[in-house]
């Protein structure tokens, strides 16, 4: 019973991924199973969810995520997502999911051309998703670290209209009071977008690192809400599958 209720995460590993072990650690801290899946693997194995971790896959050659998206494992991730599986891309993982067309838009050089490594505040813009249901709803923004040079989210006007109309914007950079301001935008992202979901809400990506924010010793535990949302969504999926069976 206990093992049956533990959720199994696949963490992808590309050459120059560097947050793969952080993700494994964070998920184990939260009581889930996590295994690494190599970029050349053509199958994910028996897993409940996939995390595409941060790093500099393939040395960011050509564009961030451009090479990784054609790796064998990403074909498996596309199939997994098409079947409704939960996929979260963090930082470079977000860039890879955009390059793969699993999420709309693209991530370009930070507006000030600098690499930003700091804690930011995030406003959660939609709580009714498998990635946000467990995030605090008391109006206090969550605090999560970022570490990127190419995190400026861009999408054309029709895409932004669609993202807003369908509430696909999940997180926006804000100040400590929760106000979405230009000054709180670390990289120039349109509409202060820090993270989005696809139309089905089973694929999401964000530049900030929830995987680096699950233990108080690192300064913030606010990443727990995001990862716990996925775990809870998987648990309720499994419960309803059992009920149907």
């Amino acid at each position: 019973m206990t093992t049956a209720s533990v959720m199994r995460f696949a963490i992808l590993q590309f050459p120059a991924s560097n947050c793969d072990q952080d993700c494994v650690h964070a998920l184990r801290v939260l009581g889930s199973q996590a295994k690494l899946v190599w970029h050349k693997d053509t199958s994910l194995g028996e897993v409940d969810a996939v995390i595409v971790p941060g790093g500099f896959s393939y040395g960011d050659a050509l564009r961030c995520g451009a090479i990784a998206r054609f790796s064998p494992v990403m074909q498996a991730v596309s199939r997994f997502a098409d079947n409704g599986g939960l996929v979260l891309g963090i930082c470079n993982g977000f860039q890879i999911l955009c390059e793969a067309g699993l999420l709309p838009g693209a991530l370009i050089r930070n507006r000030d051309l600098r690499f930003h490594c700091e804690q930011v505040f995030l406003k959660t813009a939609n709580f009714e998703t498998p990635f946000t249901s467990e995030v605090r709803r008391d109006g206090v923004p969550i605090r999560i670290p970022i570490a990127h040079g190419e995190g400026c989210y861009f999408a054309d006007a029709p895409t932004l209209d669609r993202l807003q109309a369908q509430r696909q914007i999940l997180w926006q950079y804000c100040d400590a009071s929760g106000a979405v301001t230009e000054a709180a935008n670390p990289n120039g992202s349109v509409l202060n977008i820090a993270g989005i979901a696809n139309e089905r809400f089973n694929v999401a990506g964000l530049m900030p690192h929830p995987d680096r924010a699950v233990e108080g010793i690192l300064g913030t535990e606010d990443g727990r809400g995001i990862l716990n949302s996925m775990i809870l969504a998987l648990e309720s999926r499994r419960a309803s599958a059992v009920a149907v069976a």
């Binding site: 838009g105 370009i108 050089r109 000030d112 999408a155 120039g188």
Partner: protein, 81 residues
């Protein structure tokens, strides 16, 4: 035989590098510069005797799928002997 691919950021996309270079040119005294876009240049060697038409078709597809990102970039492809 070569393919030359010039990739530039789309007009609507922020190009902070281009802006910085434009500012530097201005500070250096180069008058009359009204804008700079910084992009990429990719040169691809092709086997001798390759059909230029076929190469253009194939690389056009590669440019759209992989070599450029149509969300943020435009490209210009040229096949030269």
């Amino acid at each position: 035989m070569k393919a030359k691919l010039v990739i530039t950021p789309k007009k609507a996309v922020l190009d902070p590098q281009g802006k910085t270079v434009a500012n530097a040119l201005e500070h250096m005294g180069y008058a009359g510069v009204t804008g700079v876009r910084v992009g990429k240049y990719i040169e691809i060697d092709l086997a001798p005797g390759t059909s230029a038409t076929e190469a253009h078709k194939a690389l056009n597809e590669a440019a759209l799928r992989f070599l450029s990102n149509p969300v943020i970039e435009d490209y210009r492809l040229e096949i030269v002997e």
